[in-house]
């Protein structure tokens, strides 16, 4: 088995970043790992309602966008101080829980390589250090393939994170951390006590994957097929309010008109973001 490594990102177009993720998941013919970053955005789970998860007015004030991903799980905040990884395995019958465990252990191993011996995998989908979340996983599967992706806090703005996410009381009670909600998460920079570049994290994760899956790796570029698929998914799905704001209208009465309008504003790309995709498309056929 050989593993394809892809470092492909459009931090300025969070909608396209997610469209590309789904395109790689759908088109991969061999096991693939993708690393990427996003600029400021709340990424909600496929089965969540934006009304219940996002402080839209606060998000709009801070230039934070909103995208729904194609995997379940909870809302997360991304900025450039966060890194994302995705592992796609085609031709497997592995279930979501097994895949979580596999990737959770890979992430823990990579953190150990970086010198963070205290990291551990906490089922179902968290990686923690001293009871504080440093990385979270989400996953999806179809008949012949599975994808696990995750986000890791490296040097993210934790203040904004708490302001733009609506935090559930039940969840806080369960974690017994009502008093100090800012301390529920930790960044890698804080845990290591030093600055760290994304490339160093990617390298450690690749080393951990090689060991765990006993595989060789090769660095690859994006191919035309996945790019075309991504553009189609962007136009038909990720750039649309019908997708990003699903399960919103039914709960409209719970929020103010201003908040609803803010959701509509952050839940679709700005025109300059669409332009990025148009230029990308032009480059395929140039």
């Amino acid at each position: 088995m050989t593993l394809r490594i892809l470092i492909a990102e459009w931090p300025n177009n969070q909608f396209f970043n997610l469209a590309f993720e789904e395109a790689v998941y759908r088109t991969a013919t061999i096991p693939t790992v993708r690393f990427w970053r996003n600029d400021k955005v709340v990424v909600i789970g496929r089965l969540q309602s934006p009304v219940l998860e996002v402080n839209a007015l606060e998000a709009m004030r801070n230039n934070v966008k909103l995208v729904r991903r194609f995997t379940g799980g909870g809302a997360v905040y991304h900025d450039l101080g966060n890194i994302n990884y995705a592992i796609i395995i085609p031709r497997t019958t592995m279930g979501i829980e097994e895949a979580f465990k596999m990737v959770g252990e890979i992430v823990v191993d990579s953190l150990k390589i970086l010198g963070l011996g205290k990291a551990y995998y906490r089922p179902l989908n968290d990686i923690e250090v001293d009871g504080l979340k440093i990385s979270g996983l989400a996953a999806t599967k179809s008949a012949d393939r599975v994808l696990v992706h995750g986000a890791m806090l490296v040097s993210s703005d934790i203040e904004i994170l708490w302001r733009v996410l609506k935090i559930s009381k039940e969840k806080l009670l369960d974690k017994k951390l009502t008093q100090s909600r800012v301390k529920r998460v930790i960044t890698l920079r804080e845990a290591l006590g030093r600055d760290i570049k994304p490339e160093e994290i990617y390298e450690s994760m690749i080393d951990a994957i090689k060991r765990k899956l006993k595989t060789d790796v090769f660095y690859d570029n994006i191919n035309r097929n996945e790019l075309e698929q991504a553009i189609k998914l962007y136009r038909d799905k990720y750039s649309r309010l019908e997708w990003n704001l699903a399960f919103t209208d039914e709960l409209k009465d719970l929020i103010s008109i201003e908040e609803y309008n803010a959701l509509c504003n952050i839940g679709q790309p700005s025109s300059w973001q669409n332009k990025i995709v148009e230029e990308l498309e032009a480059s395929i056929y140039a």
């Binding site: 789970g45 496929r46 089965l47 379940g72 799980g73 979501i96 179902l124 559930s168 399960f247």
Partner: protein, 107 residues
Amino acid sequence: MPSKIICNEKKHPGGKLVKVCVNILDNEVHGVVLTGDFFAEPEEVMEEVIKNLLTLKCNLRELEEKVIEIIERANVKIIGIDKEDIKGALTGILSTLATSSSTENEK
């Protein structure tokens, strides 16, 4: 009487969270919004279940039974929460309603 939306949530111990909102008009259910940070296999089937619940119409007594029936009819594995969590969240909504209507009666 205008419709009102009542929400409740339930966290599975050590697991995920389910959030349920029920739209109530004249003491009847006019749609249920069941979302959360749980996972499902396959996800698109769960999405269909959620869409079906959005248009659920029934009376309050049948709420729990109808919701569970729609979920069980679909061939989907829900990961991170279970039926008891969903029932628990619905029971909470019904007792909120009972309390608020008795307060209204007192007025």
